[in-house]
Amino acid sequence: MPPLLEARGIVKRYGALVANDHVDLTVAPAEIHALLGENGAGKSTLVKILYGLVQPGEGAIAFEGRPVALASPAQARRLGIGMVFQHFSLFEALTVAENVALSLPAETPMATIEAEVARLSAAYGLPLEPRREVWRLSVGERQRIEIVRALLQNPKLLILDEPTSVLTPQEADRLFETLERLKAEGRSVLYISHKLDEVRRLCDRATILRAGRVVAACDPRVETAASLARMMVGADVGEVRTAAHEPGAVRLAVSGLSLAAADTHGTALRDVALDVRAGEIVGIAGIAGNGQDELFAALSGERGSAAGSVVIDGSAVGAENITARRKRGAAFVPEERLGHAAAPRFTLSENTLLSGHATNGLVRGGFVDRNAVSGWLQRVIKAFDVRMSGPDPEARALSGGNLQKFVVGREILREPSLLVVAQPTWGVDAAAAATIRQALIDLAARGAAVLVISQDLDELFEISDRVAVIAGGRLSEAVPARSLTRGEVGLLMGGIHGEAAA
């Protein structure tokens, strides 16, 4: 049988960066094919090319044996290629049916679309209400819209970009059933992921990308997680050292913390309670959008709450702003690197001033002490091996991993007594992630209390002493990480409390 899709010698350059370097990919009919690679390996660029969103510089693509030029997504859809994006391309203010209509030919009447949505969601176990507005829906439901939208085209090939990164383990299981059903109907799935277990469980074949090149094509079911990881990363990933230690006094005490949602898309915090002691790392797991942003804002002081609901080193600070909390020895690293932790078009020295102006002796009588700022920046660069072009580039010019090392290092060098960090290694390369995790562990070992909010369960199990789960704005009790299984955490992430938390 000829391959369904065959891409040969795909090259895509962005300025000096070669995102895809002579990439070959073959997808057979009725197979689930994994595209595996680290963040930044070139997976997203490749699938954008296959979906007609981005034009390759070189290379040829054949679909069902015939050479094709994919000039636009509409053309890709006509050929039978469907796509489900990692960051959903949905319109919040529009209804489910309107969102679906936007990817269909303009002649299709709205009533037909609503009926089709209902039929497909029943057939594939993807429940949806056609007339609800998207902003009212959960992340899992939003993904279902994307899948239904793609299925309406009756695709021969369905591309899914990191589909489980936003799902609970249980929701992911349900998604796998749907994908198996598609395969049984003779359709192919191109499954982009960096999660090895998933790929080994689900996929028939895997193409592995590293730094824009194909490094291997294999059958993932005969590989081990370790061998796949080696191909993906290119070297054995160093283990993080953990030190046994006794937790000390309570440094961060949260009790009865409630906070309204930041906007219509947020989740309100409801009666959150939590202690973090000196010398320990507490992890908070949860699917994005379950109140993590609100929790970070309340802990950092970006948003105020009742005075007694947040206590740092014995002082009630709920009503204090972020500067006052920093002066008490607390430090914070938000999830978004560009735009929140750092200003994209400001230089690194200006970004050093950003979080340190009140505490690091960088400002005297209202005047910025440039020497002090640059000295501080040099220390961060040296201690965390931040690689950059030029002596003082703008933040946006750094790679994700280097910028993340900068924003984490900037805070850790202050030797804070409390560090609250959200998504410390989201989207950074393996080496930088290891550096950052090690730094967090070392900081705790020196007596600081560290709170890590993350969606990455592997990371939390690796570095946390205790883990709590946030779901629907409620926080479960934090329990020792060693006593928990992934399944239990998964149930909690789905908002199921009770037996699992015990």
Binding site: G15, Q55, P56, G59, A60, I61, P67, V68, A69, L70, A71, S300, E302, N321, I322, T323, R326, F332, P334, E336, G339, H340, A341, A342, A343, P344, R345, F346, E350, L353, L354, S355, H357, A358, V363, G366, F367, V368, E394, R396, A397
Partner: protein
């Protein structure tokens, strides 16, 4: 062939200077075409517009006089625009400053007083402009009202207030029913800098303001705060800066500077209150701010250039019967070209060959 924009990673320094210059050159080319269309000799017209006002000492003094309000207002606007606060009502703040300051000039009229009068008038002018600017600022921070619309609406209200005063209770009783106030006493007018000509102390104030603002923006934490709030609001909150306080601050400062410009105009070149005291300095200053790349020193230079178009426009009207509206067209075109050229600071144009898709 297709032309696309591509985001720049670098920002070469020379471009920051080249882009406003290119805008000026493009405006002159467009101007030449416009003059030719109107049946005038483009070279002669451009000379009247841009060269003649620089020809002698008296003309240079006039240039500085016209530039004074533009510098003051545009420096305030750079702070606003840098922090993403769109104050476009400087014209109204200028008028309110003139009204507040003139109140003292009229209240002390005819009685002997010291030089404190003009100093107090300047302070009152700044206060008036500041209060007027704080209205849209408070409406924005308290209720989320769009500051562009609110500040602009208040321009009309301020102008009508001035109109009411000079036609009513502040009218000169011996002024043959003309809508204007008495001429201010010498203690209530701006001290002159030279024996002949109209150059006054206000110009020095304006330069001092621009230098101070440049220093604050570059070297002080307050300037950092203003820039950060505009560039990345979430990062500013993370830094511990309250964007609402920043909004109030920059509106207060820019309103005060516009008010100062207003009272300097009436107590300087004009010497009395009239229904119309500004040829649109408050709006032209918006162009100045952008031509100066939202940098106070840049605004200082740009204000001198825009002052040239005002004087050149008047000269061209007298010498070549070119209507004054041409000045406005020039100014509008200039802002267009400035914004267009600025695009090349952020992006570079790339010409792609098409027809080769896979």
């Amino acid at each position: 062939m297709r032309i696309v924009l591509e985001r720049r990673d670098d920002r070469p320094r020379w471009l920051s200077f080249a882009s406003p210059l290119a805008a000026v050159v493009l405006t002159m080319i467009a101007g030449a075409i416009l003059f030719a269309l109107m049946g005038r000799n483009p070279v002669a017209a451009l000379k009247v517009f841009f060269i003649d006002p620089l020809s002698d000492g008296w003309a240079l003094q006039e240039l500085a006089v016209k530039a004074t309000p533009l510098i003051l207002i545009s420096v305030g606007l750079t702070l606003c625009y840098r922090s993403n606060n769109w104050n476009i009502g400087a014209e109204g703040q200028l008028v309110m400053g003139a009204i507040f300051g003139s109140w003292l000039a009229l209240a002390t009229h005819g009685t002997p007083n010291g030089p404190w009068v003009i100093a107090a008038m300047l302070a009152l002018g700044a206060l008036g402009g500041m209060l007027w600017a704080l209205i849209p600022a408070l409406l924005k921070t308290r209720f989320g009202v769009n500051e562009i619309l609110a500040s602009l609406m208040l321009v009309y209200v301020a102008e009508l207030t001035l109109d009411y005063l000079v036609r009513g209770r502040w009218r000169d009783p011996k002024g043959f029913n003309f809508p204007q106030s008495v001429n201010f006493e010498p203690e209530a007018t701006m001290p002159l800098l030279a024996e002949s000509g109209r150059l006054h102390v206000g110009f020095l104030i304006a330069i001092a303001v621009a230098l101070t603002a440049a220093f604050v923006m570059a070297r002080m934490i307050k300037g950092f705060e203003i820039r950060l709030v505009g560039e990345a609001p979430r990062a500013a909150r993370f830094a511990g800066f309250d964007d609402r306080r920043t909004t109030l601050l920059v509106f207060a400062v820019s309103g005060a500077l516009a008010g100062l410009a207003g009272i300097i105009e009436v107590s300087g070149p004009i010497g009395q209150l009239q229904p119309s005291i500004s040829p649109g300095y408050g709006f032209t200053a918006i162009i100045v701010a952008f031509l100066g790349r939202l940098n106070p020193i840049g605004a200082l230079v740009a204000a001198l250039f825009l002052a040239l178009t005002f004087i050149g426009g008047e000269n061209a009207q007298i010498a070549m019967r070119i209507p004054l509206d041409v000045t406005r067209v020039f100014q509008g075109l200039l802002l267009f070209f400035v914004l267009g050229c600025d695009a090349f600071l952020l992006y570079r144009l790339r010409i792609l060959a098409t027809g080769r898709t896979a």
